[in-house]
Symmetry: C3
Subunit: 431 residues, 3 copies
């Protein structure tokens, strides 16, 4: 439960909003490398933290991220012509390079050197792990990129997708770190039937200890603790012989989550505010041991699991709020819990259903929401600290991101579950 003032502070990111200022201390994923086929790619529309921008890849393959409007007479540079080493406005032929310099202003007399006085707003861009990142904060504070495990695996071991979501980023994060919803939102119809099948199914049994303990003791006891990268949410399930089974769900500042999944296949989300009421949901799937098969990639492109099926040529989900996520009520009665196809789309239905910005003044949180409460507190505290001049630690320490979600066994009754060796081992990134 948040007061209206706290809710505003948590959710607003446009203009000078404190949370927007906090987010600008971090790098923002804004496009896939393949969104800008290059060199001399088509210009690509970008919206980030309420700003309208245009990205393009120049003749050398370098990516520029510039203001949508030409500084001359404000024409839309999305319609610009991506030429030899620069994007040229089609109105009067002014041309800009990826650094924001005006390299040609042919309507002005050559002698006047007019172009030297003209610059277009531009943001630094990095390209890593098939993702284009922008830094929109103060130039003198530009940090290094976060150092994620999935940046170190071969391209064949990683699949990245993103889609837009019609709601505020905070309710998207809340879904990302919500350990207990999967058993409902993403489950098949009859969890009792599923439990029996699991018990007698080697394939599932082979997927590790989670099935065994999660089906035995549900809901788990939840714990949440601050750490350098954000918040660790631990779920404790009764185990065997003096031990408990723990699952860790990570919230990484400012908007990442790593849900514990299938041990052989890892997952990282980012929920990046395009503006106050629109979010880009990014999903990175990766493996440590073997490449994705063509079938696995084809399935992810089709929209299986967390990767949504998109309207071709866009990053908008085909199943969205305007068509009730193509809900199939008969399927809801007989097969899946929602009748909506796709894990991501199921998330969208509940997250967007809260409204563009969820009113948190009359929600009813239970003990299962402890991770969400902790995440909100952490973001609000970091934003307030920055207002007092305290810079966020994680933004400038990429090494804190060398973690992944995981699971482990711990002795029953343990107090310091975070620092336990088993926990640290389970969370440590490997490459």
């Amino acid at each position: 439960l948040l007061s209206p003032e706290e809710n505003e502070k948590l959710t607003r990111v446009e203009g000078n909003a404190p949370m927007g200022q906090l987010l600008r201390r971090y790098w923002q994923p804004f496009a896939l490398s393949r969104d800008l086929d290059g060199p001399d790619s088509n210009p690509f529309r970008v919206r980030l933290l309420g700003e309208n921008l245009v990205a393009f890849r120049d003749s050398n393959g370098k990516v520029g991220l510039i203001d949508k409007h030409c500084p001359h007479r404000k024409a839309d540079l999305f319609y610009g012509r991506n030429e030899e080493s620069g994007l040229r406005c089609v109105y009067h032929g002014w041309k800009f390079d990826v650094d924001g310099n005006c390299t040609d202003s042919p309507t002005e007399p050559k002698a006047s050197n007019f172009k030297e006085k003209i610059h277009i707003k531009t943001y630094p861009v990095e390209e890593k792990a098939g993702i284009l990142w922008a830094y929109m904060g103060p130039a003198d504070l530009q940090p290094e990129l976060p150092d994620f495990e999935w940046m170190h695996v071969p391209e064949t071991h990683r699949y990245v997708s993103w889609s837009t979501q019609d709601c505020n980023y905070a309710q998207a994060i809340e879904g990302g770190i919500d350990t207990v919803h999967s058993v409902y939102l993403h489950s098949i119809m009859d969890s009792h039937r599923k439990l029996d099948e699991w018990k007698n199914n080697e394939a599932w049994g082979g997927r590790g200890m989670q099935t065994r303990y999660r089906t035995k003791d549900n809901p788990p006891m939840l714990f949440a603790q601050n750490t350098d990268f954000g918040v660790i949410v631990g779920g404790r399930y009764a185990g065997d012989q003096g031990e408990d089974y723990w699952r860790y769900n990570l919230f990484l500042l400012p908007y990442y989550s790593m849900p514990p999944g299938d041990p052989g296949r890892k997952l990282c989300h980012a929920f990046i505010p395009l503006d106050d009421v629109t979010t880009a949901r990014w999903s990175v799937s990766w493996t440590l041991d073997k490449p994705f098969t063509s079938r696995e990639i084809a399935n992810m492109r089709l929209g299986s699991g967390v990767h949504c099926e998109l309207i071709p040529g866009t990053h908008r989900p085909l199943r969205n709020g305007t068509n009730d996520y193509l809900i199939d009520r008969e399927e809801q009665r007989t097969l899946t819990f929602t009748g909506i196809k796709g894990t991501g789309e199921q998330d969208f239905a509940v997250q967007e259903g809260m409204g563009p910005i969820c009113d948190r003044s009359d929600e009813h949180l239970g003990v299962s929401d402890i991770g969400i409460i902790q995440m909100r507190r952490r973001l609000l505290a970091d934003a307030e600290n920055l207002e007092k001049g305290v810079e966020p630690y994680a933004a400038t320490h990429g090494d804190v991101y060398r973690v992944h979600a995981g699971e482990t066994m711990l002795p029953s009754g343990i107090e310091d579950w975070v620092d336990a060796q088993n926990t640290q081992q389970a969370l440590a990134a490997r490459w």
Copy 2:
């Protein structure tokens, strides 16, 4: 002509608006029984007086009308799973019965009895005459349903439909009690030709005295008088030998109308505000003497008369403002007065054409608008009385609705036309 302040008071129904408070003293039709095929129906979106709600029929066939948002974390319950005796939120599996009790909150520890503390907003529902009614007023003032004649006829003698209308409810009521517009809006092209046909046409002649007198003396003199159920609008036409022909059009509080129609077939409208700028127009057709034939029902479903043709799966008219009501200008020149098909759609064209909320500060009312003036005064007076603590009489006296529209002959020069025995006889409900 209303001042801007009066117009606001007449038209605004959302939030704490006085007129909305008045309407909440009455029961509101919100869905057809068949809109919630049951038991365990699909959830059904309801909007009423500016509130977003979800209706569902439980395993026992009982209907619940609850808040759209789950009280836990505000997910949209329209996507909920209608299970054994309750609607379950698909996000975390919380479940609610038709009385608003939380009967399961499986993400919380069983020992905590958390669910006992959780309730969802719910409104009392009654089901009568194939209609689902909601009461949204103070619990201690919950009245009985209005006792309409059409509630007492067999199901085979009644046909009910409803469709949304893109304008404020008050301009819809004004159309419903506007005695004189039918001769224009709903007429065929050449009323003189029609008159001649009528005179020589036994079929029409057989439909009673209205044709004879209405075609002889038009426009009629109009009179309006308050009564316990609302307002009686009387239209007086010159008759024969010391008698006049009177037709009665009824406005019943808070938003019903009964136009005098074909003597063998009766009609009642309700114009229920879904919000300030959207109205549900309900139409009940019924007969006292014989069932509707299959052909008559098929025609009404097709959109003949006051029952609109709907976009399948919705309550939205196929012919609506976005497509100019499919007006056929050639038909307007040669066959019908509007070129628009359907009595209801003709009403929508003129009522929605006034704008979302009609500006009544520069209208020009004539003597033919006396019924409309009286209806507005009555609603405004009742709303102001309620603000002073005077409860509306009709809301708690269902028996005042035992009337129907009608026609009669009265001696010329009569003063007290309402209390005349012929009038009372013509208006008295029968069952």
Copy 3:
């Protein structure tokens, strides 16, 4: 660069805005004669300076332009029935003639003469050169029509079209008088290749001196000077042997432009504000010497040159902002500068791309924008003068419009280029 206050004054035209008041001193084109097929045409929706109106052609072929709403109860007269000498509201049959008189109010008692008291808002209409013009200013100041050259050519020598544009009128005018943008926005891909072709191409060479000098010296030096009809923008290109080549682009008050084009074919635009964020772009093509061929007319209807391809039955361009003007990136790389088909649509892409109302507080104008600066100053000055009571001269002097755009040679170093005999000869209308 304009301050926010100046920008508001330049761009706002609705209600009592000073610029709207200035525009109301002039006649406004609002429809083609052929938009109202008559007599007894279909009613036609008109939006002008923020007002909603309905136009119709009566039985005598005379055009009325009246309020959208019937004065009785505000029904939409677009659905009205255009009958013998008047438009009849379909709600209650009230009828209005083209002068705004109520000629029938059949729902009122005949004896009351009620209709004599009823008038509907109406604006004077003139029909000239295939165009319907409205005057929306003070009745006692109603002026004569502007006396354009294209009003005096035979119908066979003129082609007029109009389409709506989703932005403020001022950025549309700016495009209309922007001499230098054509070489970029409207050009084919490789201007160097084009130059070589021109030099060796008799067909192009035959089109007069413009090709010779414009390709030799680009950009030109621009000059702008006030005159009785508005502003003359002169572009000076280096010529031969002590002479310069001059091209004149005209801005005519309050929103016309005449770009110098092909000497054999002339062009006049009007950019008429329908409201603050929507503009009607009118284009008149005409010839002085010979009729347009059928092929030329067919091409203009198809959308060649400045005449846009429209969505059938509307004045909305088929290629518009909702579909990215159907931009073809491959064509942009290899054939045309924009990849967008149609001169008009290319203009729309850059003008609408500035946003609904361009923010001029951070533009960067160069010497090539001198004409635009002068046009803004002129409009702002005329609006401010009118606020002080000084009526605009051009509004009441139709003869100042007897000009056309053109080109000429002038001695090098001439100061008074406007009054030079060659200039005056080049600009003088002929008929």
